[in-house]
Amino acid sequence: MTSLLKMTWVETKLFLREPVTVLFTFALPLMVLYVLGGVFGNEGDTGGNGGFVVYGGYGPTNWYTPAYVGLAIAGVAMIGVPAHIAEYRERGVLRRLRASSVSRTGFLSAQLIVSFFIAAIGSVLLLAVAFPSTEVDTPVSAGLFLIAFVLGAVCFSAFGILVGTVLPTARAAQSAGLLLWFLFMFVSGAGPPPEVLPESLAAIGEYAPLTPVIKMLQEPWLSGEWAVGPSVAVLAIGVVSAGAAYFLFKWE
């Protein structure tokens, strides 16, 4: 147990020393929040535009803030974790850990905890800046939002671990991670209003695993409801990813 804690702590520090992870988890979501928040303000759309309503009628900043929490989760899970695991495998770090009796469960659990932890830091940072500096309203149900965050961060981190497990090299994992992050940003509700996405992108958005995470985060924030469908999807993604990662994981 102490070794799991120690590994988690050391790995957390290593993540925070990785500039790319820090950029995509901490800095970029903040930057995007400012740009899009500044462009769209926080006035709810009332359908003056010929009855066509964007952001489901919610204020854009209210809409985007929980979505960027999702983006921070995706930053660590897509850009931090996969390259990290693949690099460890490529450089023989995993072999060395295994030789010192680190178990597969131990290593993967530590990754999951670290990823969750970094996503939490990123999200707290984002909200700490968003509240005083934008017009964002407090979540309708903070409690449900918190639960949604925990579920979303854990399950999406498991998905990131799976990506790092199946991709052979750090370079491949980093490229794939970046690509997925940008794609998800556009199609999963953190980019242009979903109502204006071209059909093809909207279709991708339907199946992008970040979409239910963001929906699950937005619902308690905007309406105070729990998004049942998306949360089931998120849970499924988490369970399947964790299981697949466990069985596909290779030390070398």
Partner: protein, 302 residues
């Protein structure tokens, strides 16, 4: 003095490629045992199987009475590892590495002591990637012994190091042995094996081609000895009568005696008896390189 490791008829294939054909060796308590052979000989595969890190296709292996195939978890707690081509995260600091690896040992040792003992204290906050090759090896050795293992496996410790760092690493290896552990040293450097190993197995093409102490291997396979000296005395043909001498030749003042076994001592004694006291009497000893050449028909570097 029991045998700590026994490997019998080890075999390992990767697909249809036979990496280890048939390797057997025994390692005695407290010795430095070497696996010497060219790249691709199957050394790493053999020692990693012995540590339970890879699965063999055949053979019987015991390490400290345990079978690495079925008791790898128990075994790993009793052995220390420095693996070939393994590294630590580049941004990991020296003290963090020691702290982490000490925590992986149940009832783990005080990592600060380990850091002190291996002279890493002044580098405590340096990241792994900023260390020199020799310092990295020092850290990796410290991590390999942090669990106070009874057997330590060191795979290609000095590849890529400059001569000074190599010598320093040799001292580390001897320090580990002096600490009471049994060592298995994998190397493709014959000078390293000759210098450090009590006994060794020469491996080539997935088989052991010879085994024994460096001296006995050289005596057995090293071929003839060459004794050189110079003298002004025109006639040294009396040396030909010595039992172990095969031939005597000279060019100017330089005399070359080719022989076997105790030829150096006998030539020396005979010279002194005949009033010749050369200051440059020396023997050109065969090395493990010559042994390897003799056994395989190839140089070790090829």
């Amino acid at each position: 003095m029991g045998s700590v490791i026994s490997v019998e008829h080890l075999r390992k294939t990767y697909g249809s490629f036979v990496a280890v054909d048939d390797i057997s060796f025994e390692v005695e308590e407290g010795e430095i045992f070497g696996l010497l052979g060219p790249n691709g000989a199957g050394k790493t595969t053999s020692v990693e199987i012995t540590q339970g890190l890879r699965v063999p296709d055949g053979g019987d292996i015991r390490v400290l009475g345990l079978d690495p195939r079925t008791q790898a978890t128990q075994l790993r707690r009793l052995v220390g590892s420095q693996l070939q081509e393994s590294a630590l995260p580049g941004r990991l600091k020296v003290w963090e590495a020691l702290d982490l690896f000490a925590s992986l040992v149940p009832g783990g040792p005080e990592w600060r002591e380990v850091m002190e003992r291996w002279s890493l204290t002044e580098k405590a906050s340096a990241s792994f990637s900023s260390l020199s090759g020799g310092q990295r090896q020092r850290l990796l050795v410290a991590l390999a012994v942090v669990n106070e293992p009874r057997v330590v496996f060191l795979d290609e410790m000095t590849t890529g190091l400059d001569p000074a760092a190599r010598r320093a690493t040799w001292q580390l290896i001897e320090a580990v042995r002096d600490g009471g552990a049994t060592l298995v040293l994998v190397t493709h450097f014959m000078d390293e094996a000759e210098q450090l190993c009590d006994r060794l197995a020469i491996v080539d093409g997935g088989r052991v081609v010879a085994g024994g102490s460096p001296q006995s291997l050289i005596a057995e396979y090293g071929g003839d000895l060459q004794v050189n000296f110079s003298t002004d005395r025109p006639d040294v043909s009396f040396l030909e009568a010595i039992e172990w001498v095969d031939s005597v030749s000279r060019r100017g003042p330089h005399v070359v005696v080719v022989g076997r076994g105790p030829v150096l001592a006998l030539v020396g004694a005979e010279l002194v008896r005949n009033g010749i006291v050369p200051t440059d009497l020396r023997v050109q000893q065969a090395t493990l390189e010559d042994v390897f050449l003799r056994l395989t028909g190839r140089g070790l570097g090829e």
